[in-house]
């Protein structure tokens, strides 16, 4: 994604985006980035520094946990798995977002609504 205004808007939801990917199944760093890119239809690309920051924060908060597994090309990979706490936090974030989305549209859009 090129324009920085959009990434300002997105930044607060990176944790939830990652939890969504992990809700579909355990995954490792680079694949999480790819999955998010696919989910966005190629419009958004999560940057590595933000990924690691988010993963660390989520793991510290016990929303996800990690384990080492074997990758396809030999090397070992660190996989992440969403916890029960993570699942409920994710649901909560989604419903919060739905409320906020409606409210913000109502507050900033003019006319034809």
């Amino acid at each position: 994604m090129n324009d920085s205004i959009s990434s300002d808007l997105i930044r607060g939801h990176i944790d939830t985006m990652i939890m969504r990917v992990l809700s579909d199944g355990d995954n490792y760093g680079y694949e999480i980035i790819k999955a998010i890119s696919v989910n966005s239809g190629g419009l958004y690309e999560l940057k590595e520094p933000s990924l690691y920051t988010s993963l660390k924060r989520l793991e510290t908060g016990k929303l996800i946990e990690s384990y080492w597994g074997d990758g396809s090309q030999g090397g070992r990979r660190k996989y992440y798995k969403i916890t029960e706490l993570g699942k409920s936090t994710y649901k909560h974030s989604v419903s919060e977002w739905k409320t906020a989305k409606g409210l913000i549209s109502q507050l900033i859009e003019r006319g034809n609504s």
Binding site: G29, Y30, Y52, T53, R77
Partner: protein, 222 residues
């Protein structure tokens, strides 16, 4: 060693401990995956490696205890704090002049030197950012306090030995020759205490790191 491996080693060169080993392995494995993926999508190896490298150019924000701070503002706070402590110590020791102690003079020099440095730093209006580690400074703080406590206790014991050792040894009553000698003794006892400005100044470093922290998340995408 693969090119990516030595690149990641370089990123972590400043941070060597077991906590970072795991992160290092994780980052490397993800970069290798990225490289493989880019090659598969049609890039040549060299470009793929370069793209992988460009995706992460620093790990400073991922190190435990590291905080990104406005360096200049942080230094100013520290200098200001040291200046205040030194000035207080200077004022408190003014009476020492009477008994011919130079402590007061030394402190005045220190106040002037720190004052000049402070003013020079204050003239520098550039906004500089850097990473400082709160844990590291907390450790430094503990060590400085420990050494200061040892120094203080030894100084007091030595002074006591000098003044009263022979009284104890020969079990003579303690005798002080008039108010001047009493004042001199007090000044000598007080002098080691003045050095408390050093640990006190260092004491607030971790606090100032937190205070001058760049608001973290917002900056990391840049």
């Amino acid at each position: 060693m693969s090119e990516l491996k030595s690149y990641v080693n370089g990123l972590f060169a400043k941070y060597k401990n077991s906590q970072t080993d795991e992160l290092k392995a994780e980052i490397l494995s993800n970069l290798e995956a990225k490289k493989a993926d880019l090659i598969e999508s049609g890039l040549d190896e060299e470009t793929a490696i370069q793209k992988a490298k460009n995706s992460i150019t620093s790990v400073a924000h991922l190190i435990d205890g590291n905080r990104e701070v406005f360096i200049n503002q942080y230094r100013l706070d520290c200098l200001q704090q040291a200046l205040i402590y030194l000035a207080v110590a200077w004022i408190v020791t003014i009476p020492f002049m009477v008994v011919g102690s130079f402590v007061n003079l030394y402190l005045l020099c220190a106040v002037i030197v720190v004052g000049i440095v402070y003013l020079c730093k204050r003239a520098d209006k550039r906004e500089k950012r850097g990473y400082l580690n709160v844990r590291y400074y907390n450790k430094i703080k503990q060590i400085v306090w420990l050494f200061w406590a040892i120094f203080f206790i030894i100084s007091i014991l030595a002074l006591t030995g000098m003044y009263f050792g022979s009284n104890l040894w020969f079990s003579r009553p303690i005798k002080i020759d008039g108010p001047y000698n009493f004042a001199l003794m007090l000044a000598r006892y007080f002098t080691p205490l003045v050095t408390i400005v050093l640990p006190l100044s260092i004491n607030s470093l971790p606090k100032y790191i937190i205070k001058n922290e760049v608001n973290s998340d917002a900056e990391q995408e840049k």
